[in-house]
Symmetry: none
Subunit: 209 residues, 4 copies
DNA sequence: AATGAATGAGGTTTCATTCAT
DNA sequence: TATGAATGAAACCTCATTCAT
């Protein structure tokens, strides 16, 4: 009944251990920052010895990179727009914001620590941009194009539009981390508002005759 | 002709020294991050001795706080919308983005180092939110209201709108730090695009009869 | 046909394993030094697991002692002078140097690692002196005496002569490890020269009338 | 009366501190070996803090290199044969061995730790050979040639002779470290014996008619 | 007021050894 | 018997801070 090859069991154990360490580290990094978190802290939180950390990761820096890799492996990114085109454009925006919220709830801590380091680490920055930002923009770009082709939104310069949306989400994320209550508590309402504004514009409504 | 009181000269000298140290620190913090920058590095860059640093700042942490204080003293924030209301709403948005660009060029390094730490330092976060974000939102809010009152934009929920704009700028800033070429090189065109989109909306244009 | 008692087979297997580990260790110790060689390295080189090392040796230190024991078990030392006395004294010196060369080729790495540690480990030093140096000196002493008795060399203070010869060989060994090209490449010629010099002396040759 | 420039005082203080640390380190390295000596030990023995060590030396390895450099800066080497040629050849050998003894008493600990590492560290080995062994051989070579020219010793292949002498001294040094009582206690007598043997040879003395 | 050498607590990392499988 | 993941003590090194000059 031992129908698992020992190798596969071993691999799963190793991968579970890695995950256990990464999760502990990401949480602590988000709470106190990468540099204020000691390897001792991580070992304690992950319930392993400090030595064991180094059986799974070459260095503390590697641990941060591993966290970043997890972020870029997110199945989420691709799937989150995959429900097909049919919904109308306004709904699409709301959906995007909603999905993002879910992902933040799940991967927020990882993003937080990574983002903090990225801002001040040119090397990491480059890697992050290549592995996360560019793929994200490509996906978003394709979706926008599909909307345009479907006539749901007017033709526009997608590179600019993509940056608009991405910046918006990044900015919301930062505001959320900063503890802004509106973002935290009225996310749904705000999503509706944003979607509406972007769809209809801020210009005074022409008095329909 | 020594019409300056010795005290005021002394004060100015002290304040110049402080500024010299803060500038050096902010630059290094932005380049390598707060934690990877040693007090030795700062002393070298500011062309003073390490001991002197401690005559002007109680600790390295204090230095970061001083940088943050400089950011919140920026006259810029208030002035940048002060040209009065007359310009039309679309132009207002473009102006805002343009002004932001100028400020980033000037205060970018300070913001970069502070933002990085804020993401992972709850205490700093709170202070930053109170001293920088809230005042900024209030200013923006007032301006928006003025536009609404002037009939330049339609009535909308200002708290949401304010967060939209702020997030947008924060997000742009992060994308810029990340090295996104479009943001860096086509800022002017992109500003026009954004202003337009927000003003007119993304909905397909009704074929005017 | 199983004419070996299981015990003896087992013993031989154990002893072969020990030898396999010792050889790997000695090689690595000579290459990188005792302290820069990890038990992990040894396990890898000996093609066993780290755990297995500890089934055969109590500790890493024990491994070094085992290497030293191998050196003192060398049959070589005693045999190398055993060809009897007949050859003339000059030839005896050349033989000695030649034999030494062969032994170095074989046991060099072991000697190298042991010697390095001996220089800085008083305990080991004592043991090495007792187990290797003294027996070696006794052997050499007996041989010299035999030569003297045979009238092949003049009567001299053997304790001093023994130290002269031993030091010479030790010194040559160190020079060889240091990479001196003359020692490495012209060993044979040099042996002849040394033997000659010691036999005949460095004094100007009396012009034979 | 402060007739010393502050700079020169500072330099001397720094250089004294360096020496103080090097001496402590060399002593400990010789006693326990490089690897068994901790930076903590060194700091304690040199009566400075561990941090201070690193104000004077980049790393523990650098400390070993500094010790080696001191050995090669020895004025001794060149001076020790400088008394001119006049003394007879036998006396020259005795002098050489005597001088060596003095130098060992002074620099022995340094040599001990360096030699131990050299045996198992190829990089160090090369440097040591270039900086210490080769210059030493050149000096010795010149002296031998002078003796030959003066007719005090017969013509011989100096490269071989040089290696003979050097090996002899190296070997004696190792035997001394090993604690051999004859070398330690009867050095003078032994020197005489060696000088004699090498000068006159081991061949049975022809019965002078 | 300015200096920079000295400090030592504390960080990251290594590695000999153990032990459950 | 063989394995190799887990361990944790201890090593090397850094750096914010102090203080005598």
């Amino acid at each position: 009944l031992n129908n698992q090859s020992p190798d596969s069991r071993r691999e799963r154990r190793i991968s579970a251990r890695r995950r256990q360490i990464i999760d502990a580290a990401a949480r602590l990094f988000a709470e106190k920052g990468f540099h204020r978190t000691t390897t001792h802290d991580i070992a304690l939180a992950a319930d392993v010895s400090e030595g064991t950390l180094y059986n799974y990761f070459e260095s503390k820096d590697e641990l941060l990179l591993a966290i970043m890799d997890m972020l870029s492996d997110l199945p989420g990114l691709s799937e989150c727009y995959d429900d097909g085109v049919p919904v109308d454009a306004r709904e699409f925006l709301v959906d995007m914001l909603r999905t993002r919220r879910v992902m933040i709830d799940q991967y927020g801590p990882m993003l937080q620590s990574v983002l903090s380091e990225i801002l001040v680490n040119p090397e990491l920055r480059k890697q992050y941009y290549q592995e996360l930002v560019i793929p994200g923009m490509l996906l978003l770009s394709a979706h926008l194009q599909a909307r345009i082709d479907a006539g749901q939104i007017r033709s526009l310069q997608t590179p600019f539009a993509v940056r608009l949306l991405l910046s918006l989400m990044l900015g919301f994320y930062v505001l959320e981390v900063l503890g802004d209550p509106i973002i935290q508590l009225q996310w749904e309402e705000m999503s509706q508002f944003i979607a509406n504004l972007i769809y209809e514009g801020a210009a005074p409504r022409p008095v329909s005759a």
